[in-house]
Symmetry: C2
Subunit: 465 residues, 2 copies
């Protein structure tokens, strides 16, 4: 799609492909429909598997958090208090104390960590949950990108040392990298957020930013080093090997499933609609029988052949479906291309005769032929599709990198991607930059400040969602 | 366990086996931990698979429902209004209208059904979602049995005729039957609730009741025929084949994952702890190396053999784990029996020498030997374990059936199971029965009323959770 039409294209495909329904009567809250939900389910299961293999325990905490617990860490509550939905009544009676809909679960989880952690042998403790969280966004809401109820997985850990906590951060970066790059075929850059843009209560925040087709960056996941900030207020103490008491070192992290889905749709999509990587596609192969209605017998043979192909693919654990509806094949091609199905199989009289199948790839549009007996090689084609999507996404991402030496040059490239520039380190210069762009990260390389000219740190800026 | 100690036993095993943590600082809200959550995940995935195979689309609706929508169906809101948690504020500001935490989702889902359904060709429409729902229970809360946040799957359908709606009810009864009997190895009886105990807004309610070890019945799932009650107030209309407008016929249904877990734990469990059916067990086979510490070499060989067994089992998609911790084998047996692992494998020097494995079944305690090369037959043993659990549960269930001719006889058997008796059909007699017991169902057989002596309908009563 053209960059200019991105917003319109995006809203249209969300509706046409049955990803979500935006007509629910609460602003910023969506109804997830089967096509979108299936993709989220796939990414959620993959992530949960990776987290559990790395020693995370699944857990599930209540959606409600008592106000005194949400308020324990002062920076944390200051960061969220404008955004909290409050439950104040049950039935016709007011509650004795207000209960918050979780905006994130550090406070409720760490309240229990303080009961679960006694000794160094209880550590590391790593848990995760896939849940919805609630934030009353006052900014303009956008479907899947900025809403008031959003789906994510949140991980939380406690360690005996800062070193272990930092190692966990590196492991999580790898796990999220696997999810985003290997599984979803998307590109990203990890940006260390400036001090004033950290998660409320964190010592350091690392964000995974990707680049949307309109040139804006989208934060799809974050990882936080919490230091001992929370363990001190929540009394998360452990006895060390030599019998001393110490506060645990903590990290927390989460990718947004909604934003990952938004990125997946937008970055891989084209004018025909969705383009789905095979691993997340609800239907991986759509089989279209080509019927000429010469004789009943011939049509039946073709439908039987289509069914045989479907059964063969299903026995190989491939999500295959035959579309034997009444529409013209061309209408079916159009529909399933819009839905992003990675591979189409066309089955006509000639295919049947030679026991072959005509296949068409959604990502390249290329058609070729495969023998029925070679269907076992479809996984190889899926790999090629994924590789191709990954490569295309990486190319687009790379094309969005710019360098700027002045504030004017930053403005020139705004909305085109991620711009590397300089910043002296002073607040008023940062504010001038922030007047035009979001600061994604402050790095360690030494460059000239784009605003005042004095030498300072390298920064990365962009127009951001 | 002994019936008298049931409540104590139940609370202890929930804690010991890491099913849940009851110390979360909101009454009636639980923290689910890995062992319990894994079991719920297994049952949820099995149910979702069955529902999707029968044409249900997965969906996910917001947790919040605007008060005017929740209140559209008057009987429905009358049934729930005492139990609704209300969100009234966002940040520091009051909301323009109150938002309810869903106590169930008929109203929010049907608000969208009215947009999705236009023609008979849109029907049947069947959707399901696995979510938490919220009810401010004023009765005594009990972990997993009666809480203020509980996990379930809810299904909702719309049809062109009452006949189709009723057929769907029969299909759902089969699906829930599969989940409860085949998958979880539990017994149940479907009871048609009396008029005054129907789901608010329903024409008919069918409940799945099981029997707990303390002789009380537990409602684990319900299926409702909603008639056109909701479609009329939510304007769910379709155009018939001959161009007329008609209101859809609807059904809704849901099993409680928490209650199913409570039943699973309580009915299969024994004095040693949990007894889990293989299909839901987080670990299906625990491998215990028996080390005599004669030589390092011998111990290493045994550990290698244990690992070889574990790998072999995993390659067969069996959830196997080796416990190579420092504890004495006896302590490990004790621990994993408490956790309910269906099969233990003991691997010592003699087993290694003959390439055999000593196995012990959790359900019977019986020990036997299996050859390494026969490990492929473990699934058969799992089937036998499931069959045995199913049979034992059915036997206990059958032992809880009683007949009573008088109110005194009902009282005699109360707390022992399900009592069949008579009821003349008059309200004051029903009230006298309800003074001592819950009426589970009113059937069609003709019997003598246990209270007044005149002839009437058969009823089933019990002490209920």
């Amino acid at each position: 799609m053209k960059k200019q039409n991105f917003s319109e294209w995006y809203h249209q495909i969300l509706e046409d492909a049955e990803i979500i329904d935006m007509r629910y009567p609460i602003k910023g809250m969506l109804v997830y429909r089967k096509w979108g939900l299936f993709i989220i389910r796939q990414m959620q299961r993959h992530l949960e598997k990776l987290l559990e293999e790395s020693g995370h325990e699944p857990c599930l905490f209540p959606v409600l958090i008592p106000d005194d617990i949400l308020g324990k860490e002062t920076e944390h509550i200051a960061g969220f208090e404008e955004q909290v939905f409050w439950v104040t009544h049950a039935g016709v009676n007011p509650l004795e104390r207000r209960l918050a809909l979780r905006p994130t679960s550090e406070t409720s989880i760490y309240e229990m960590f303080s009961l679960w952690i006694r000794s160094h042998s209880d550590l590391p403790l790593k848990v995760h949950q896939s849940v919805a969280v609630y934030r009353y966004e006052t900014k303009h809401t956008r479907p899947l990108i900025r809403g008031r109820e959003f789906l994510w997985n949140e991980g939380h850990s406690a360690h005996t040392s800062l070193k272990d906590a930092k190692e966990n951060i590196e492991e999580i970066k790898k796990i999220y990298g696997d999810l985003i790059r290997e599984f979803l075929c998307l590109s990203f850059r990890i940006n260390k957020r400036p001090e004033w843009d950290r998660f409320p209560g964190a010592v350091d925040t690392f964000a995974f930013d990707t680049l949307m087709p309109d040139g804006k960056t989208l934060q799809i996941a974050t990882v936080h080093n919490l230091g001992q900030n929370f363990s001190k207020v929540f009394d998360i103490e452990f006895e060390t090997e030599d019998g001393k008491k110490e506060h645990a070192w903590q990290t927390s992290y989460g990718p947004s499933f909604g934003r990952l889905l938004a990125a997946l749709i937008s970055i891989h999509g084209d004018d025909k609609g969705l383009v789905l990587p095979p691993k997340v596609a609800p239907i991986q192969v759509i089989i279209i029988p080509i019927l000429f209605k010469k004789t009943e017998k011939e049509n039946k043979d073709i439908l039987d052949y289509a069914k045989e192909i479907e059964n063969k693919l299903r026995s190989l654990d491939i999500r295959a479906q035959t579309d034997s509806g009444e529409e013209h094949p061309g209408a079916k091609y159009y529909h399933w291309e819009m839905k992003g199905v990675p591979l189409r199989m066309e089955v006509g009289p000639r295919d049947l005769k030679s026991r072959v199948i005509t296949i068409a790839r959604r990502d390249t549009g290329k058609r070729s032929e495969i023998k029925f007996d070679d269907l076992g090689e479809i996984e190889k084609i899926f790999s090629e599709i994924s590789d191709n999507l990954r490569k295309k996404a990486e190319k687009k991402f790379r094309e969005g990198f710019f360098k700027a030496k002045t504030l004017e040059e930053i403005k020139d490239h705004l909305g085109e991607g991620i711009i590397t520039s300089g910043w002296c380190g002073k607040k008023d210069c940062a504010e001038k930059i922030e007047d035009v762009a979001s600061i994604l990260s402050v790095g360690d390389s030494s460059v000239r400040c784009s605003v005042c000219g004095s030498s300072g740190k390298e920064i990365r800026v962009a127009k951001s969602y």
